[in-house]
Homo-oligomer: 223 residues x 2
């Protein structure tokens, strides 16, 4: 039981979700947690700001140790609970190198995804340009093609084992499909997405509002 | 001697520089290296693309293991050479948590810095807007204030010891000053910058074209 941990989170947010997957993988259930709403701007509330001056979710605390950055929280958990639950960083140098490479490429995938899906949220109305929207979409499509290639013949991002790269990147992949990415056009990504859906850590943390409303948006359907 | 390692790099690039600092810290000198030119578009050359299909520098290889993502390469080196050179990930949970927090916040600092310094490079001419330039500058100024606060009374980012957070974030801090950030207005950052300048790993890897031409630009002088 992880009674000395607290997680403030938002449903569906890839950064929140990856921390929740990491907690499950390390057998750290029973932590204090609170589901907050981005729509209601809870992430700018006093409760969040006290833990996370950037006003972002997740906000994560272990005792008095605060690690809000989601990649950081996952790495911290793996490091602090090395021999508990599933081992998420392989010893084998080759597999480990690939894991670090994919894990950090995940930043680029996230960034390009956010640039498309949250364009209107991020860019003030008077600055929005069709040409930028088009460029962002093309850039995301190119990025997704890379990942489609990476998953050719692989069940996980660093090879045959589930690693920290999957903990970190899987929520973004699920998000792409939630926003309408075509399973037909990206079969390797779709296989990866559907396969890991059944993994206990992923199943246990599936975004509750996706369960309530299984139909997502179609923002990315033409990609 | 690190004869089984190869680094393709560009002078001054924070991602390249952090890998070079990590190599020095782990006593991995004597690697194969090649200084390439971003201006000449060497990063899109066949030599780079063969190692790094994203066409980016650094491109880093250890034997047949390729880890081009700079954060990933630093973590890989620390993990593979744990007991060699300087220990870069503290054991103490508190210090480690802070290290991971700052290290990944470094992504935000980098991103906001790039959005300002490379605005014209990243945004096509017909899409450039004064309002966006202003907003990016304000956002970077806010970000830098956070880091100025983090360094209040601290010589390193995770406390009193030099860690992977410093390996990763220091080059960005140096870059800010190279681009004209005021040492007077940001005294904690300036102290950090000047202090670590003398650290052997930093000194040994100081960007050669900064040595040749100690005067930088003034892009950030009003920040």
């Amino acid at each position: 039981m992880a009674k000395d941990m607290t997680l403030l989170w938002g449903s569906g947010s890839p950064p929140c979700w990856r921390v929740m997957i990491a907690l499950e993988e390390k057998n750290l259930q029973g932590y204090n947690q609170k589901l907050l709403s981005f729509e209601k701007m809870d992430h700018k509330s006093q409760e969040v700001m006290a833990m996370n001056p950037r006003g972002q979710l997740p906000s994560f605390k272990h005792g008095n140790i605060i690690v809000n950055e989601s990649f950081g929280a996952c790495m911290y958990l793996e490091s602090q609970f090395k021999s508990q639950g599933n081992k998420l960083i392989p010893d084998c140098a080759e597999e480990q190198g690939k894991m670090y490479q994919r894990l950090f490429e995940g930043n680029t995938l996230n960034q390009k995804m956010v640039d498309v899906i949250y364009y209107n949220y991020k860019v003030p109305e008077n600055e929005r340009l069709e040409s930028a929207i088009k460029r962002n979409k093309e850039s995301l499509a190119e990025e997704i093609k890379l990942w489609e290639g990476y998953l050719q013949g692989c069940c996980c991002l660093a090879g045959k084992n589930f690693t920290l790269a999957d903990v970190i990147v899987y929520p973004a992949v699920a998000y792409l499909f939630r926003f309408g990415l075509s399973e037909e056009r990206f079969p390797n990504l779709a296989k990866y997405y559907n396969c890991l859906k059944e993994r206990p850590s992923v199943k246990a943390t599936w975004p509750p509002h996706w369960l309530d409303n299984p139909k997502g948006q179609d923002t990315l359907k033409d990609l």
